[in-house]
Amino acid sequence: MKQRLFCILGLLLIVMPLGLMVACTKGESTTPAPQVQSTPSVPQVLRANLDGEPATIDPNRASWSRERTVIMQVFQGLLGFNQDLTLKPVVAREIPSVSNGGISADGKTYTFKLRPEVTWSDGKKVTANDFEYSIKRLLSPDLAAQYASFYFDIAGGKDYFGSAKKDDAARTQLRSTVAVKAVDASTLQITLAQPRPTFLQIMALWPAYPLREDIISKFGDKWTEPPNYIGNGPFMLTEWVHQDHLVLKANPNYWGTKPRLSEFQLKMITDANAELAAYKNNELDMSRVPPGTEKAVMADPVISKEILRFPELTTFAFQFNVTRPPFDNVKLRQALATAIDRVAFVDKVRNGVGKPALSWVPPGMPGYDPNLGKEYEFNVAKAKQLLTEAGYPDSSKLPELKFQYSDTAGNRLIAQFLQGQLKDNLGVNLTLEPMESKAFTQFVNQEKHTWAWFGWGADYPDPDNWLPELFGTKAGNNHTVYSNPKFDALAKQAKSELDNAKRLQMWAEAQKMVMADTPIATMFYRERFILVKPTVKGIKTTGMDGQVTGDLFLTEINLTK
């Protein structure tokens, strides 16, 4: 008797879900969520997702977009970005310039005047001391902040950062020589070691946000936990359940135009499929889409209406190691660049999301040149011609070409596509060498690669961030080992040229040099592809968004029925 009961129970537990699964209709029929009682006003709660737990939300130490999404709501800096990526004054009364006396004639001294009404969420006034403290903390050797190097133009900054091995007295002395000074409560003065016209853009970035010395001294590492995490921005961090979710509520004491949202909830679903399922189950208002499913989403009758796409400031390219034969041959590199069908790449490998790239600096950034790089447009005959000019009229005589990449599902597709293209268009065989992610990164950073895939996203919207770092001789992120003294000279000039028109002209010339020498073969500009519920209104997308689309202008978003 008992065993029969056991049998029946056990079988029921197994048969029931299977039966249900078979009985339910297949396909993407998204039945509308159970209707909420229609209230007269829609709760202004936006629910979005981060793809994981933020490593740190300390503005000085943060470096990933996930972290920026949170930081940008709770803190605000002296300057910020408009939607067209021009600068706007935020905590500062106006953008310093030579004409208003904010920048000295030699371009080295910047004076920021703060608005008097800016307050922290606990009511205290934001002063220039808060900025001085924050920048000096950013440059402190013990904090080891990853973005500290961006602020090395500040006189004394680099030396202070490098003083880890010195004793306390020397360190304190070096700290006091860092040329950031709160002249009075509402005036901040910064002196640079050499002129750097893009310094204002760097001051709009999050590592220079003001911080509260009293809070950080009191709570130490715990200062980033609510309720200690006090900022001067439109939102406050009210809840953080680690690895699970974050809740930001509108700051009732906000000194500026209050946000239209009352709450911003961030979940931490790491799996893209689970995130999409949550979106379909009405648990999220915005969601990314699992890579590779973009075409299916575009074909779906219901959710295809909820797609939001916009271009990022990100370019992907193949980088050659120009010191390794046969890639030391510029004609060969050009032949390879011309032999790849970028349109097919975007269509097949990226599912139609993104734009083919013929030059390095992406559209949306000053310095983008739509006419540059046309000579590398896909052309099989030309590619073969270039190959002959390179000294390989017979493609079978080419030495073995190897391609290294980080072994992820997406990269495998790219590698196979490349292999197919070279075989079909040039008759060249490509050996694929997948590697583990970090191992690959180290491999490339040590310039052991021959030919590798890579991408670059803007830290700030200026060619200053896109050219010297990557193509200057022995520059930190130059792994093509490209070295052109003419480029270096031009870059040096452009970096400190105070006339903006002239400066951009110089960078345009510099980019032309790089494209002609082809240390890289650009492939595509990335585009964001997300789903947004029709109830979410007022999203303003920019190229400087954090991980959640529209988070740079979150105050403008509101929800309707």
Partner: protein, 297 residues
């Protein structure tokens, strides 16, 4: 219990060595950091000290309960991360284990007692089926069915009963299948033993025979596999936890390895080693309870 210490030491040493030998370090990123930044980071986390000093520091701190700091979660201690994630992972693991036992053992018993009947065939079919469908697939199917289509269960997270059901069942599928198979096989073996024939000849009720004589003997092999299964479930499944966004420790180890987060890797490895050793110890003790032939000095 004393043998636990050398075991943990060896595990720690091997992991520590491998971790530092593997190419790629915690600061290797596509957008390479400035060399001064890397230098300061290495100094901050003592990565510029010789290997023996680093290992020594780690052991010294571990013994006092401080498993170090995570590089991926910069302000948190590893011990704290493990302690906050453990209840969730363990909760999920134990729930899945109980489901696996409640389904697996009765199914196996029923199949063995009614060998070659319909019940037996269905039981074998289902245990083979669920032993081969990956938990990830079952999980996704559940989400599509119960969340996206029927809207009766949330897609993930942790805290309510509704959120436990899908991950626990998805996680329990494989162990349930496995336990059913082993129970069936072991019951069959016991069923044909002489002492069972004796008990039947003596005229004992079948219920008494099954429970008092067959089960106790048949369950010994089941316990052998159930122990490690429980250890595996408690240490967490990376895939299920990622899919259902469960803030436990299952995800941490794999994420730590990919990020070369030395602190997190060492902490989780030690924890795993300890959990497995502990569970094996419990299983050994249970043997002594269940099988009178086994006695320890």
């Amino acid at each position: 219990m004393l043998w636990l210490i050398p075991v943990l030491f060896v595990v720690a040493f091997i992991t520590f060595s491998l971790m530092h030998l593997v190419p790629g370090g915690p600061w290797d990123q596509e957008k390479q950091l400035a060399p001064q930044v890397v230098e300061n980071l290495n100094r901050k986390y003592n990565l510029d000290k010789p290997f023996i000093v680093q290992f020594g520091n780690f052991l010294w701190n571990a013994v006092r309960g401080d498993l170090g700091v995570s590089y991926s979660y910069q302000d948190k201690g590893v011990t704290q991360i493990l302690l906050s994630g453990l209840p969730k992972t363990a909760g999920l693991g134990v729930t899945a284990f109980l489901i696996a036992i409640i389904i697996g053992i009765p199914l196996g018993i029923a199949a063995a007692l009614k060998q070659n009947s319909t019940v037996d065939y269905i039981s074998v079919f289902f245990s083979t089926l669920f032993a081969n469908i990956p938990g990830f697939v079952i999980g996704i199917l559940f989400i599509i069915l119960f969340s996206v289509t029927l809207h009766v269960l949330p897609t993930g997270g942790w805290g309510s009963i509704k959120q436990v059901i899908m991950p626990a069942v998805a996680l329990a599928a494989l162990p349930a299948a496995y336990i059913a198979r082993v129970t069936r096989a072991s019951m069959l073996e016991v069923k044909h033993q002489d002492y069972i024939r004796t008990a039947q000849a003596k005229g004992l009720a079948s219920r008494v025979i099954i429970i008092r004589h067959m089960l106790r003997n048949a369950l010994i092999p089941v316990m052998t596999i159930a122990g490690p299964e429980l250890a595996a479930l408690v240490t967490g499944s990376f895939i299920i936890e990622s899919l259902f966004s469960i803030p436990g420790i299952g995800r941490l180890f794999v994420q730590g390895v990919f990020a070369r987060d030395y602190g997190l890797i060492m902490g989780t490895i030690l924890f795993y080693a300890f959990a497995v050793a502990l569970v094996n110890l419990i299983v050994d003790i249970l043997y002594a309870v269940v099988d009178p032939r086994i006695r320890y000095e």
